[in-house]
């Protein structure tokens, strides 16, 4: 934790490369920006690597949309760890909530398949600190399968075994933090062709839901046993929105004919403007998670009435991670209020307002009803 008042909100992501994580993060960013329009809070990518990556993704996508059709790269293959940085920025230096999303290969979890030099300890530490784990799922893989062969290769393409391992490990860590809320989100992406609520002409959402439950039932079913306080949400996301699938191919991997690679072809619905759907549900879920965590901390501090702040801090430190971050955020807020009360000059007051607005917006988002696509298990 920095010494700033910025809350670092660590979110783990697990899934094969090119499953659509970057698209999902892009969608979260675009969705957040859309949600926060007209508020004093902005959402943005921070850090050059994140900005570069998201920028490249956006350019590629815009090109594809202009071309009228595109074919995302096939899923699978090797993957490097990447940490995305997004910021809910109230406009106050060193304030705001930073969303850190760690994308790392599922294969790293298994020492046998972990490549030499992989920075697994950092990943492990990050996961321990993450009270939220997002599992992006390529909806097309599920929905375009037409044969038993496809079904057989589907877990391999979606790396469900590795994903399951990571989730169970994460749940184990959550189990050690029973006071700290946890959130597991299964997020099918590229869902545009299977919903009719975003320009599509057919609704195959139930089939998608069925497939997700069927393929990830190990993960879903593990939650109540491993960490009952963890909420499991199903949040399908149209990461582009203006496309629909026009072709799908299952082609043997060049080096391993028994393994199939999946690729889909998409056509762009005119006028070709991105229409993200479902990312707001993800954000709102994150907000609810934040609010819930904060309320927990406040309740915990309240129970320590009569004790000194030091005692309360010790409580927060005892929980480390997310709770400690929240504690510092609370302290930061208190600091801004104190400074605003002490310094009637505009800068301090403005800072206090912005931080307060962020909190209110988060609470507002947390209080909104989730969209019709969302399921909670």
């Amino acid at each position: 934790m920095t010494d700033t008042s910025r809350l670092v909100y660590r979110i783990g992501m697990v899934g094969p490369s090119r499953v659509g994580k970057t698209s999902l993060i892009t969608a979260l960013l675009r969705g957040g920006q859309h949600l926060l329009e007209g508020t004093p809070v902005a959402m943005k990518a921070i850090g050059s690597s994140t900005q570069k990556r998201l920028g490249q993704h956006r350019r590629d996508l815009e090109g594809s949309l202009l071309a009228g059709k595109f074919r995302p790269g096939a899923l699978g293959g090797t993957q490097e760890k990447f940490l995305f940085h997004l910021l809910l920025d109230p406009g106050v230096p060193d304030a705001g909530i930073e969303l850190q999303l760690l994308d790392y290969p599922g294969g790293w979890f298994d020492p046998v398949t972990r490549p030499p030099g992989a920075d697994w300890e950092e990943c492990e530490h990050f996961l321990e600190q993450s009270s939220v784990l997002i599992v992006p799922i390529d909806a097309a893989v599920l929905m375009e399968a037409t044969s038993a062969t496809h079904l057989r290769v589907m877990p391999s393409i979606l790396a469900t075994t590795q994903v399951g391992d990571v989730v169970r490990s994460w749940l184990t860590e959550r189990k050690r933090r029973p006071d700290e809320p946890g959130l597991l989100m299964l997020c099918p992406v590229k869902c545009e062709s299977y919903f009719d609520d975003n320009g599509g002409d057919r609704d195959d959402s139930e089939e998608l839901l069925t497939w997700v439950r069927r393929l990830y039932h190990d993960v879903i079913d593990a939650v109540p046993g491993e960490a009952p306080h963890v909420r499991t949400l199903y949040c399908p996301v149209d990461t582009i929105g203006c496309v629909e699938i026009t072709g799908a191919e299952w082609t043997p991997e060049p080096g391993d004919p028994a393994t199939l690679a999946f690729s889909a072809e998409y056509g762009v619905r005119p006028p070709g403007r991105q229409a993200i759907k479902g990312a707001d549900d993800v954000l709102m879920a994150l907000c609810r998670h934040l609010v819930g965590a904060r309320q927990r901390v406040e309740e915990a501090v309240a129970t320590e009435k009569g004790r000194t702040a030091t005692t309360a801090e010790r409580y927060a430190e005892r929980h480390e991670g997310f709770f400690l971050d929240i504690w510092y955020v609370l302290n930061g807020e208190r600091r801004y209020r104190r400074e605003a009360a002490e310094d009637v000059r505009g800068a301090a007051v403005e800072a206090d307002k912005r931080v307060t607005a962020l909190t209110e917006i988060i609470e507002d988002l947390a209080s909104r009803r989730p969209g019709g696509r969302v399921r909670q298990w």
Binding site: K69, T146, S147, A148, D196, D203, T246, P270
Partner: protein, 884 residues
């Protein structure tokens, strides 16, 4: 037992009259008479009491010049025995049986010679009548006898057929080993020997019953006076029947018969073939010579060894008779020219004056003359099989009597004795065995004993006492020698008691009257009295033999029972086998069809995995995509140009967009009809597989046909069967009616995927119609419209493909359902079993080619045995006595 009054009534009348009066049947009467005579005859001569004073009274009658005679209704011989036995015979000039008038006339006729009455004519008249009765009775027995002979011949043939049938079955490769083993023990040789003996006996009986004469055989060693006796009986002389001194003279068996009207001889002649077979062949056999001459010329030049020059060291050449037989054979060969012209076969009637040359051996003078002259000795007798001589008998005018001259016993001639026996059995009713007491031979010797032995064989089932009379020829011999011989015969033959076993008569063979009185009269009396009994004995003996033979045949037939019983479970009837095979056919078909249906069911579970189906869908999809990307069936530029023109004219995109979307929709739908090629192949494949499951089990029924052709042929066969199989036919026709095509089966399921290819669509949320696209009538507008239509087309094609792949189960389901229905109806319908049997019965030989030919043949072989056995048993059951 009848009361005394009834018994008294028996005294006087003949038994044939009196006994029926007591209620006896003819058969019972015969039996009673035979029983009575059997016991009474033996004691009548010695135990008949004489009334006191009778001898004296008879003496007075004779002294008074009266000639008493005995007239009786009882057998004449018996009366004579009694008269002699009680010692009063010297008083009577006649002891006879006949009507009173005849007896009276005889008694009044002046006596010749000794002063006694000539009694022959009178006696013979009675005897002749009685003998004729017997002969008539015999003839009455001929028809049933001949029927029985025919039955036995049939039985023999039937046994032969049974043997052939059993051998055919036993030797056939398809006969089970166990049955073959059982049949190996079936041997008919003994039974056939029994039948042959039965037939021989029946033929002897037939011969006996066929004779129109009573035949007295004259037998004896050479030179005992047989020919002399015959001359005395027949009145023939040396000119006809030679007698000789020292040499055998009678070469041909002759039958001499009294005839009041003709004097002639009927000769039955040899052919060269019968001459060789009957005369030459036995010599060859006895002499160990191989081969036989086929023609006179060959016989004439046949190389026979010279007696004494034969170097062979075996027993044949060393026997004393060898040279004799060889000499006789060479004599025949040397004389062939003298009789070859007589080897004509058939009968030749000659006068009695010609007879001698045909029946007599050459005399010593003739032999010497020929030797001296270097000429050829005539042996025409060699061409004669036998002779029948008819002439007027001087003493005994009995029409139905014949005297048979048999070749001399003891002659060194091949098969002479067997020939003798055969002749006796076939031709004579009684035999006179002539014996003459010559110096040095006045005893009953070994040759005589052997002669009796032969006669014992020849008599068959007749009692020896009835069959043989010993005749002592007193002619030309000293009384002492006669006494010696007589005594020796009594001792040797009759164990010291006169006539104990054989009756002995004595006469001078050269004295016709003596022969008549001492020989013919008692013999004829005997025959008249005993022939019925003798016939009954022969019939009974023969019958016993027949029963034994029939029993043997029946037992042999019964021996087949277990073997035949073992046949049924082994091969059974054709019907049973057909049922068994039909059941197996149905089971096998069930197994194959269940496997096929199971496989098709598995395909329904993995339908989308069917690489051929996936490939077919992918191909249809690729074709569709190519059509789309190539410019929607025209080309992109043309499409846009046309679109722009149309939209400008229309001042809007609606019509063009709508029409194009419709056209594309139809085109995509149509392009997926290319799947029908695959579906057709799949249906054909199903037919092929079903046919392939059926064909191997149906033999040649569907040979050379497969798939649809095989099934159509099967349906025709089921309809056209001699016993139609409508249910099975419908099952096949239903299978042939299976259709699998995109338009009717899959299109309805994937039709919704093409919904996007319409200008107007229904808003999924509001339910309101919504126009999907409206563009301006500009280049940009038409470009947008083109992209829209292409995207919609591609998506529709993609969704259709996806749906088709996910609906891949449908074709498999259709095929599986069709096959399962076929299997169900074919195998499990209520009519299935019955119609399978009909099919099997209708096309048995096509389904199991060769099987039933062989089974039929096997069953025919078995049936042949059964039939032969049953026929044989039926014949046996129909025989007198009813053997089964």
């Amino acid at each position: 037992m009848p009361d005394p009054v009834a018994l008294r009534a028996l005294v006087g009348p003949p038994f044939e009259i009196a006994l029926p009066g007591l209620g006896l049947t003819d058969g019972q009467t015969s039996v009673a008479i035979a029983a009575y005579r059997g016991s009474y005859d033996r004691v009548a001569a010695t135990r008949t009491p004489l009334f006191p004073g009778v001898p004296e009274f008879l003496g007075k009658l004779g002294a008074a010049g009266l000639r008493p005679a005995v007239a009786t209704s009882q057998p004449e011989y018996l009366a004579r025995w009694i008269v002699e036995g009680v010692g009063i015979d010297e008083h009577f000039t006649l002891v006879g049986r006949g009507r009173r008038a005849e007896m009276t006339r005889a008694a009044r006729r002046p006596s010749r010679g000794s002063g006694r009455l000539r009694k022959g004519r009178r006696v013979s008249t009675d005897v002749s009548a009685r003998i004729q009765q017997i002969l008539d009775k015999r003839r009455q027995g001929l028809p049933p006898l001949r029927s029985e002979i025919a039955v036995w011949r049939e039985v023999d043939e039937q046994l032969g057929e049974l043997d052939a049938a059993v051998m055919a079955l036993r030797d056939h490769a398809g006969t089970p080993d166990e049955l073959r083993e059982r049949l190996t023990q079936f041997r008919v040789e003994d039974a056939r020997d029994g039948i042959a003996e039965a037939l021989r006996l029946l033929r002897v009986l037939e011969s006996r019953f066929s004779r129109d004469t009573v035949n007295i055989g004259v037998s004896g060693q050479a030179r005992v006076g047989k020919s002399t006796l015959l001359q005395s009986v027949s009145g023939l002389s040396d000119d006809q029947i030679p007698t000789g001194q020292g040499l055998a003279v009678t070469a041909v068996r002759s039958r001499i018969q009294h005839s009041a009207t003709v004097d002639r001889a009927t000769l039955r002649m040899h052919t060269f073939g019968t001459f060789v077979a009957d005369v030459v062949a036995p010599y060859h056999a006895e002499l160990g010579l191989t081969g036989l001459p086929a023609a006179p010329a060959e016989f004439r030049t046949w190389s026979y060894p010279t007696p004494g020059a034969d170097e062979r060291g075996d027993d044949t050449a060393g026997r004393p008779s060898y040279a004799t037989m060889l000499n006789r054979l060479r004599d025949m060969q040397a004389s062939i020219s003298t009789f070859v012209d007589d080897l004509t076969g058939g009968e030749r009637v000659v006068g009695l004056d010609e007879l001698r040359r045909f029946v007599a051996y050459p005399t010593n003078d003739e032999l010497r003359a020929a030797a001296a002259a270097g000429g050829t000795v005539h042996r025409r007798y060699l061409a004669v099989r036998d002779a029948r001589i008819e002439c007027r008998f001087p003493e005994l005018h009995v029409e139905n009597l014949a005297i048979v001259d048999l070749p001399g016993l003891g002659e060194v001639a091949v098969r002479a004795e067997a020939h003798h026996v055969d002749g006796l059995q076939d031709e004579v009713d009684v035999v006179l065995l002539v014996k003459r007491a010559v110096e040095g031979m006045a005893y009953w010797g070994g040759a005589d004993a052997r002669a009796l032995d032969l006669l014992d064989i020849a008599r068959g089932f007749a009692a020896k006492r009835d069959f043989v009379f010993l005749l002592i020829n007193r002619g030309g011999t000293a009384a002492a020698l006669q006494d010696a011989l007589r005594d020796d015969i009594r001792r040797q033959v009759n164990i010291g008691r006169a006539d104990q076993f054989f009756r002995v008569v004595e006469a001078d063979a050269a004295d016709p009257a003596d022969v008549h009185k001492q020989v013919l009269v008692p013999v004829l009396d005997h025959l008249a009295d005993r022939m019925s009994t003798m016939d009954a004995d022969v019939v009974a003996g023969t019958r016993a033999q027949l029963c034994a033979a029939a029993d043997r045949v029946a037992a042999l037939a019964a021996d087949l029972d277990p073997a035949l019983a073992s046949v049924s479970p082994a091969s059974g009837s054709v019907a049973e086998d057909l049922d068994r095979r039909t059941s197996r056919l149905r089971q096998d078909l069930t197994g194959d069809l269940v496997a096929l249906v199971g496989e098709l069911h598995e395909q329904t579970r993995n339908a989308a995995e069917d690489p051929e189906y996936v490939a077919a869908v992918e191909e249809a999809f690729a074709t569709t995509r190519a059509w789309i990307t190539a410019g929607l069936g025209v080309d992109e530029r043309s499409w846009k140009d046309e679109g722009l023109r149309t939209m400008r004219v229309d001042r809007g995109s609606g019509r063009y967009a709508g029409e194009e979307l419709n056209r594309v929709r139809v085109e995509i739908s149509t392009s997926f009809e290319g799947l029908d090629v695959f579906f057709d192949a799949r249906v054909a494949q199903l037919w092929n597989r079903v046919a392939a499951s059926l064909s191997p089990h149906l033999g040649e029924l569907l040979a050379g046909l497969d798939g649809e052709h095989a099934l159509r042929r099967l349906a025709e066969l089921l309809d056209g069967a001699s016993e139609p199989c409508p249910r099975l036919s419908r099952a096949v026709q239903a299978l042939l009616a299976v259709r699998l095509d995109y338009r009717s089966q899959l299109h309805p399921r994937v039709r919704a995927e093409l919904d996007g290819l319409s200008l107007q669509v229904t808003d999924p949320h509001t339910g309101d119609p919504r126009t999907q696209i409206v563009v301006e009538a500009t280049e940009a507008g038409v470009e947008e419209l083109y992209q829209f239509v292409v995207r919609k087309a591609e998506r529709a094609a993609h969704l259709t493909k996806k749906a088709l792949l996910r609906e891949g189960v449908t074709p498999a389901l259709v095929l599986h359902a069709a096959a399962e229905q076929f299997e169900d109806v074919l195998i499990r319908s209520g009519d299935s079993e019955r119609e399978f049997k009909r099919l099997a019965r209708s096309y048995r030989d096509e389904v199991w080619p060769g099987v039933y030919g062989e089974i039929d043949a096997a069953n025919a072989r078995i049936a042949r045995v059964r039939r032969a056995r049953e026929t044989l048993l039926a014949s046996l059951a129909a025989m007198p006595g009813g053997n089964t």
